[in-house]
Subunit: 120 residues, 2 copies
């Protein structure tokens, strides 16, 4: 079974995660056959490894990790690959892959432009 | 004249800003009559005040600031309103307003869900 992890930065303020919870709710409504979990780099739970372990425990064998970041800076270029490799070693039975950051997607950028245009 | 500022967090790695530059390029192509500038909270230039001052110098009298953040945590709830107020005091001739974070917009979230679905 395939699953998806939406991977965010995390923040001290618990309200920061609201859009991430909304993303997971949207995903579950539209893709009910593909489990989704959130995971965070820091300051929020679960970690990437915890989310992967949870999904694997439910019979998931293939996970796509989507970094919900705009830019690809140090977190995605340095920290994230290390975390991903650690998960692969920890759970060799799960096929793990990652997409680029969502900020690399033209449709995401276009939605931001349209949001700004509506606000003028 | 109206203008828009796309306000991001900033990062040490200069490549982090690539999606922001792409956003500004998209904006300029699609809304050529409404000037756009980027501004950053920290670690990147220009600051919000620098961007507002630059636009005001070009005859802009009304600016909408769009926070290109997913979640509304401490940066947007605490730091950003202080910066915005400081700009209003500094440039009383410019009408400044701000939208919610782009992560509050359903179309932006939907674009992220669709990006994840295409990657499965």
């Amino acid at each position: 079974m395939k699953a998806i992890i939406l991977f965010g930065h995390g923040a001290r303020d618990s309200r920061w995660r609201e859009p991430f919870d909304r993303l997971a709710t949207l995903w579950r409504a539209q893709h009910p056959d593909t489990p989704v979990e959130l995971a965070f780099l820091e300051m929020m739970q679960p970690s990437l490894e915890e989310a992967v372990t949870f999904l694997a425990g439910g019979g998931v064998t293939q996970i796509t990790v989507v970094p919900v970041f705009f830019g690809q800076g140090g977190h995605l270029r340095n920290d994230f690959p290390v975390l991903l490799e650690a998960c692969k070693k920890q759970l060799p039975g799960v096929k793990l892959s990652a997409t680029p950051a969502v900020g690399e997607d033209l449709a995401v950028l276009q939605a931001i432009v349209d949001f700004g245009a509506r606000a003028l």
